[in-house]
Symmetry: C2
Subunit: 548 residues, 2 copies
C-alpha cells in the first residue's frame, strides 16, 4: 500500500448552503457520495434551492465509478435531477433510497442506472470497494459505508445516531464499526451537525410514548404532520392509530408519494384496517380519525398551512381537533412554524409541538454518540461534514478530548481536497466547487447582483422613471412618467411623485439632453438624491429611455 494516496474532496455541506456531497478519489478511480440540496431562507430571496457545484464530477466523469446515496433525504439526493444528466454513472443506494429517487427522477422526466445495495453488501467501484452498514437516522434504509482504497479505509457515517430502540428494531451496526476500528480506518467522514448538544439524542421510542399519551387524551380528530420523508414517524403514527382504534388518511402529495413508495418496498407496515383514502375521512367520527398531512415546516402551499389559514377544501379545524407537529423547524423556518401554530390555536385546535412534549427527536448524533463512534472506529484522521463551520470547529474540539490531535481533524473549505498517504494528511489543490442557486427553470445563473437587487427591492421597493427622447433633436418629449411599487413614501398632504417629476424636468430640461444613456444616468442620479433627501429611503431606481 505504500505510496498509494486517497483524496477526499468536499463538494457540498461542509459549512456551506448547498448540501451534502463528497468525492473520494484514489488513483484513477472517483466515487461520489450523496448530492443534496438546501432550501435557502429569506437570506436568498426567491431562490428555490441551493445545490453543490459538481463541475469536478462532470469534468472527471470518465473516472467516476459510482454515485452512492446514503439515504433518501433531499439534502443528500435532491440535487441529482440537476447533476445526473451531466454524468453517466450508476447510482447505488438501498431499496427505499432508490424508490424515492425514482419518484424524483420521474418528476423530472429522467432515468438513471440504479443499483440496489443492502447493508452488509460490498460493491466494487473500480479499484475501490464500498461496504454498506446500517445506521439509525430519521428515515429507514440509511447506510454508512466503508470505502476500501489502496491507501486505506475511508468510513462515511452518513447522517446517523445511535438508537438502542429504533422503530424498525435495528440499531446502528456497532459491530461493523468496531470491526472497522480493529482493521484500522484511515479516515472517518463524520456527521457533526448536532455536536453542540451534550449527551445522547433520545430514541425514537420517546416519540411513541408521547404519541400514545396524546392519542389517549385527544377528544376528537388528530391532525399529524412530520417531514414527508420521515417514514419512521409515519409508522409510529400508524401504530398509535391502530392501538387506539383510529383510521388514518394521508393528505398532501409528497407524503402520499413517500408512503406509497415505502409501503410498496416494505419499509412501512400498514396495520390492518388503519389506512383509509382521504375521500373517506368524513365517513368516520372525528375521534376515530387521524389525518397525516404535509406542512411540518409551515410551507405556504402545504396542507397544514392551508388548514391554519382556514383555506383547505376538505379539512376545517373544529373544536376538539388536536394537531401534532412531529418535527422541529429547520433553521430559517422558526417564524413560519410559530405563526402556523398560533393560527391553529386561534381556530380552536389544540396544538402539540416540540416545546410542549417530546413529539420529535433528532436523527443526528449528539456529543456522546460522536465520541462513541470516534472511539469505536479510532480513525487516523477525521473530517466532519453536514455542519456549519462552527459545528466543524466544535467537532474538532470534541475529538481533541478523546486524544485526536487538532491536525488529524481536518476542516476543509468546499473544493479543498485532502490527500492522505503514508500516515499523513495534507490539503491538496483546490477544485472548482461552491453553491449553485436554482430559481425556477434557471440553474446556476442567479448571480450576486440579482440577489442584491432583490434585497433592495424587498427593503424599499422600486421606482421607475420613463422618458421619451427625440433622437434627432436629442431633447426630451413630454413629461417623465414615474411609477412605483413596494415603495412607501406617502406622508399626509405629500405628493412625492409629482414633485419628483417636476424636479427631474427642472434638472434635465436645459437644452440638448444628450444620448439615451446620458439621460438615463442623469435621471437616475437626480431621482436617487431627491428621493433619499425626502424619504431617507433607497428604492431601486430604474430609468428607461424610449427614443423616437
Amino acid at each position: 500500500m505504500a505510496g498509494a494516496r486517497v483524496k477526499i474532496i468536499p463538494l457540498g455541506g461542509y459549512g456551506e448552503v448547498g448540501k451534502n456531497s463528497t468525492a473520494i478519489q484514489c488513483e484513477d478511480d472517483l466515487v461520489a457520495i450523496d448530492c443534496g440540496l438546501m432550501f435557502p431562507g429569506g437570506d436568498l430571496p426567491g431562490i428555490d434551492l441551493a445545490i453543490p457545484d459538481c463541475s469536478y464530477l462532470v469534468e472527471n466523469r470518465h473516472r467516476l465509478r459510482g454515485l452512492i446515496l446514503t439515504h433518501g433525504h433531499e439534502d443528500h439526493l435532491g440535487a441529482l435531477p440537476h447533476v445526473l444528466p451531466k454524468l453517466d454513472v450508476p447510482v447505488y443506494g438501498t431499496k427505499l433510497t432508490q424508490g424515492l429517487l425514482t419518484v424524483k427522477l420521474k418528476e423530472h422526466g429522467l432515468r438513471a442506472k440504479q443499483v440496489i445495495v443492502r447493508p452488509g453488501e460490498r460493491v466494487a467501484m473500480g479499484g475501490m470497494s464500498a461496504e454498506f452498514f446500517h445506521v439509525n437516522h430519521s428515515i429507514p434504509g440509511c447506510v454508512g459505508l466503508a470505502l476500501r482504497t489502496k491507501a486505506g479505509i475511508v468510513v462515511h457515517t452518513s447522517d446517523f445516531k445511535f438508537d438502542q430502540t429504533p422503530t424498525d428494531g435495528a440499531p446502528t451496526d456497532f459491530g461493523k464499526l468496531a470491526e472497522l476500528g480493529a482493521r484500522g480506518a484511515l479516515a472517518l467522514i463524520c456527521d457533526c451537525v448536532r455536536v453542540e448538544r451534550p449527551g445522547y439524542t433520545p430514541s425514537e421510542r420517546v416519540v411513541a410514548e408521547s404519541l400514545d399519551q396524546i392519542f389517549f387524551d385527544a377528544p376528537g380528530r388528530i391532525i399529524f404532520t412530520t417531514f414527508a420523508s420521515n417514514i419512521s414517524r409515519v409508522q409510529q403514527a400508524l401504530n398509535a392509530a391502530y392501538r387506539f382504534g383510529r383510521r388514518m388518511a394521508i393528505v398532501g402529495r409528497s407524503l402520499e408519494n413517500n408512503v406509497a413508495v415505502a409501503t410498496e418496498l416494505g419499509y412501512l407496515e400498514i396495520p390492518e384496517d388503519t389506512l383509509v383514502g382521504s375521500e373517506r375521512m368524513g365517513h368516520y367520527p372525528a375521534e376515530e380519525m387521524v389525518v397525516a398531512v404535509t406542512g411540518s415546516q409551515g410551507e405556504p402551499t402545504s396542507v397544514l398551512a392551508r388548514i391554519a389559514a382556514d383555506d383547505h377544501r376538505q379539512i376545517k379545524i373544529a373544536a376538539g381537533d388536536t394537531v401534532i407537529i412531529s418535527a422541529s423547524p429547520v433553521p430559517g423556518n422558526e417564524q413560519t412554524v410559530s405563526r402556523t401554530i398560533d393560527s391553529l390555536f386561534r381556530l380552536g385546535a389544540d396544538v402539540v409541538y416540540g416545546a410542549l412534549r417530546p413529539v420529535h427527536v433528532s436523527g443526528h448524533a449528539s456529543q456522546e454518540e460522536i465520541k462513541f463512534i470516534l472511539n469505536l472506529v479510532r480513525p487516523q484522521f477525521c473530517v466532519p461534514f453536514h455542519g456549519d463551520y462552527r459545528q466543524m470547529v466544535l467537532f474538532q474540539r470534541l475529538a481533541g478530548q478523546l486524544g485526536f490531535p487538532a491536525e488529524t481533524v481536518l476542516l476543509p473549505e468546499l473544493g479543498q481536497g485532502i490527500e492522505f498517504g503514508d500516515g499523513k494528511a495534507r490539503f491538496s489543490e483546490r477544485v472548482q466547487a461552491g453553491t449553485v442557486l436554482v430559481d425556477g427553470l434557471t440553474v446556476g445563473d442567479v448571480g450576486q447582483a440579482v440577489i442584491r437587487d432583490r434585497r433592495q427591492l424587498a427593503e424599499d421597493g422600486v421606482l421607475l422613471v420613463s422618458l421619451v427622447l427625440d433622437r434627432e433633436k436629442a431633447t426630451l418629449i413630454g413629461r417623465p412618467q414615474i411609477a412605483s411599487r413596494g415603495f412607501a413614501y406617502a406622508r399626509e398632504g405629500d405628493n412625492l411623485i409629482e414633485e419628483a417629476c417636476a424636479h427631474l424636468l427642472a434638472n434635465l430640461d436645459h437644452g440638448p439632453a444628450g444620448s439615451a444613456e446620458q439621460v438615463s444616468r442623469a435621471a437616475s442620479d437626480s431621482l436617487t438624491r431627491f428621493v433619499y433627501e425626502r424619504t431617507h429611503r433607497r428604492p431601486l431606481i430604474l430609468p428607461v429611455v424610449n427614443e423616437v
Copy 2:
C-alpha cells in the same frame, strides 16, 4: 364600590406584532401602561418597526391621566416618540426608565413631562392610583404596579421573573404581591411569554459563574456582547473584568449611551480602574482587555457584525480572541446570529454562546414562577400579555391547573376591551387598535399592498415595460423598452427580453392601440403570460405608457 366598572383595553402585545401597551379605564379616568415597538422580521420586508395603533388614547386624551412605563426596554417604550406628540400626558417611570426615555426623546427632538417614581411609591392618577413594586427582569428599574380603581385592584406584572440572587441584590417584591393577594385583586395582567418552559428561569447568578469560568480560561482578548439595554449583564461583565484584572472598553453607540445613562443614574457601578475609553484599547495587552460591543442579534450595522465581516476599523479578530454572545436570538434573528458566529469562528475566534454555556438567562417567568405569582395574588380574573396567541392559550391552561376556571382567564384580541364589575368580566365594545408599520419617515401608511409588492419583488424581481403612445393617432411609436432587476431569466442562448419585446409588438401592433390605460393593461397581461410560460416565474410587471 358596587356598580363601579373598570375596563382593560389591550392595545399592543396581545398576540400581535406591535408590542406592549395596555389602557385601563375607570369612569372618566384613563391610564396607559407602556407603549413599545417590535422590529419585524423578513416577514414584513423593509419595515423598520411595528408599533401599536394608539388612536384610542389620542381620541380620549382629555381623560388620559398618565402613561406608565414599567421599564426601559424598546418593546415597552419604543413607540413613545411616535405617540407622545399626539398626547399631552405625564409619563411615569423609574429613574433608569426615564433616563433611557430622555435619550430616546432627544434623538427625536422631543420632550415630555417625565415623573420619576420609586418602587413602593403610590401616585394618584385621577380617580385611580398606581402603586409600584420592584420586579426582576433583564434591566434594572423594572416595576410592576397595582392600579387601585373604584371597581377593584388591577395588578400588572410588567415583564418579570423571580430571581432569588439577582445582580442588584433585590428580588421581586414577593411581600407586596402577597399583600395584594390578601387585599383581594380584581385582575392580574401577567407576562406569559415564557409559559412554554417548565420549571423556573435560572438566576442571573448562573451567568456570573459562566463568565468567571470563561474569563479565567480566555487566553487573550474578550469581546462581549449583549442587548444594549441589558445593564445587569454589562454589570456582570464589568465585575468579571475587575475580578480577573481586565479593563473594559465599550464600542457601539446604543451601548455607550445606555452605559452612560445607567452610570449617571447610579444603576451601574463601575469597579475602580476598569472602564477605559475605546481609543485606549490598544494600550493594554490582549489578555487584559474586554471589549463590550453591540450586535448580540447580528444586526448588520452593529459592531459585532462588522467585526465578523472583518470590516471594523478598530477591532480585528486575532488568534486567542474569545467572543461571548450573552443573549439569545430574538425570534426571526436565528440565522443572522448563527452566521455571525460562523464568521467569527472562521476568523479564528473562540465563540461562546448559549448552546454551549449558560452565558444568557431569560428575563421572563417560566411556568413555576407564573404559578407562583398566580397563587400569591389569587386574582379574580387574569389577562395574559406579551405572548403570542399560543402562549396566551397555554397561560390559560396553566392557570386552569391552579383552579382558575377558563372563563376567568381572558384572551382578548387587540382593541377588545374587557369590562369588570360586580364580580363578572365581559368583553365590551371593540375600539380601534392594531399594528402600525413604520418605514423610514413614513408612519402608518405602509399598507398591505406595499408589503405584498415587496414580497413579490423579493421573490421574482421586477420587469418594466415602457411604451410610447402617439396621443392623436392612438398608435404606438418605436419599440417597447423592457428592463428588469432581480429577475433571473437567463438560460444559455436565450434572449428572453428581446423575444418578449417582439411578442409584445406582435400582440399590440394591430391598428389603433387605444387609450394609455388600455395599452398599459394589454402590455401587462401579455407580458405576464409570456414570462410565466417561458420561465414559470411571476416577476412584478410594471407597464408605463408615455403619451406624446
